[in-house]
Amino acid sequence: MRPSLLRNIKRLATTETAPDGEPYLSLSTKATLRLARSKNRKLKDVELQALESGIIPERYQRNIGTLGIEGQMKLLQSQVAIVGVGGLGGSVLELLARLGIGKIVSIDGDSFVDSNLNRQVLSQMENLGALKVKAARRRVKDINPAIETKVYSEMANEENLPRLIQGSQAVVDGLDNIHTRFAVESACRKMQIPFVHGAVAGFAGQVMTVFPGDKGLESIYGARVFSGLGVETELGNPSMTPTLIATWQASEVVKILLEWGNTLRNKVLVIDLREQFMEIVDLI
C-alpha cells in the first residue's frame, strides 16, 4: 500500500455509468499510464492498487460483471505459459492479453511463413520470416502494456520445459505434434500445473483440461504410438477452427485460475463446424 499512489488514483478516478445503469469509479487508461510514469510504478501495480480500492481500470470494465474485482485482481497476479504461438496459441495469447492475465510466457522456435497467413492472428505480411514469439510480445504490448511478457524462441522439449513453464499456474497447448504435447503434459504433471490441451484439423477440433494426476492425453490419443499422419494433413487448417478452439482453451484457463470448477477435466469436447456437431465425452 502506497498512500500517495492511492491518493492519486482516487484523485484521477471518475464516476462513470456501467451499461446496466449502475455508477462505478473508473480509472482511464490514460490516467493509469500517467500515474505509472509519474510515480515510477509498474502499470500492473497501479491497476492492482486501483482494483483493491474498488476503482475499476476502464480497460477491464467489461470484464468485471463476469469476473468480479477479485477475479480481475487474481488474473492480473497470474502467470500463464503458451507452448506454440501459431493458430491456437496466437489466438489464446490475444484473449489472455485482453483479459488481463498478469504475465504471459510464449514459447515457440518457429518463424512465420506464407502458409500461416490464412489463420494465425499474429502473422501478417510485414512479419513473414520473423520469429513468432517476437510478434507475440509485440501484440501483447500493443493491446495491454500492463502485462509482463516472457518469450522463448525455443522448441519445447523434455529438457527445457521445466525452466520455460516454471512459475505458471496454467499451460496452454498450441502445439502441432503429439510428441511435444506428451512432453508438455509430462512436465506439467511433474510441476503440478494444469494443462489445457487443444488441437484442430479442418473444421473439427478438440479441447481437454488435464490436471496433475489425470490420465490426460493418453485417454484421447491412446497409448499406442501413432504411426500415420494427423488428420489435419488431409483436412488442412482453415481460419475458423483455431480461433474457436482457442476461445474454449482461454475459457478453461480462466476457470482454472479463478478456481471456478466446471472445466473439461476428464472430458473431451469435440466440435465439427461443418457437421454442426458438438459433443462432450466423459473419459474413463
Binding site: 489466438s91 484439423a201 491412446g222 478452439i245 459433443e279 465425452v281 466423459d282
Partner: protein, 78 residues
C-alpha cells in the same frame, strides 16, 4: 439384430457414403469394432470412442438403441 446410431465427423464424415447413420443394423453381440469395419473406417484413426456419451473401447458390445460416436483426434495446432 440390433439397431444403433453412429455419428461420424471430421475425416470420418466421408465414410457415411450417403447411408442413414441414425439407423445402422448390426448383428446381435456386435462390438464397436464391427461398427468401425461396417463403415470401413481407418482403424488406426479411431481413438475417441463414446457410447451414449461415455468413453468405451473397440471391444465394447453394443446393444439396441446405443448412440455411438467415433472421432479421429486432431494433432494440429492451427
Amino acid at each position: 439384430m440390433i439397431e444403433v446410431s453412429v455419428k461420424l465427423v471430421s475425416i470420418f464424415a466421408k465414410y457415411q457414403r450417403g447411408r442413414d447413420t441414425s439407423k445402422v443394423t448390426l448383428k446381435e453381440g456386435a462390438t464397436v469394432l464391427d461398427l468401425v469395419r461396417e463403415f470401413g473406417l481407418p482403424e488406426d484413426h479411431v481413438r475417441i470412442i463414446a457410447v451414449n456419451g461415455k468413453q468405451e473401447s473397440l471391444d465394447k458390445v453394443l446393444t439396441q438403441g446405443d448412440s455411438v460416436f467415433l472421432f479421429p483426434p486432431a494433432f494440429g495446432g492451427g
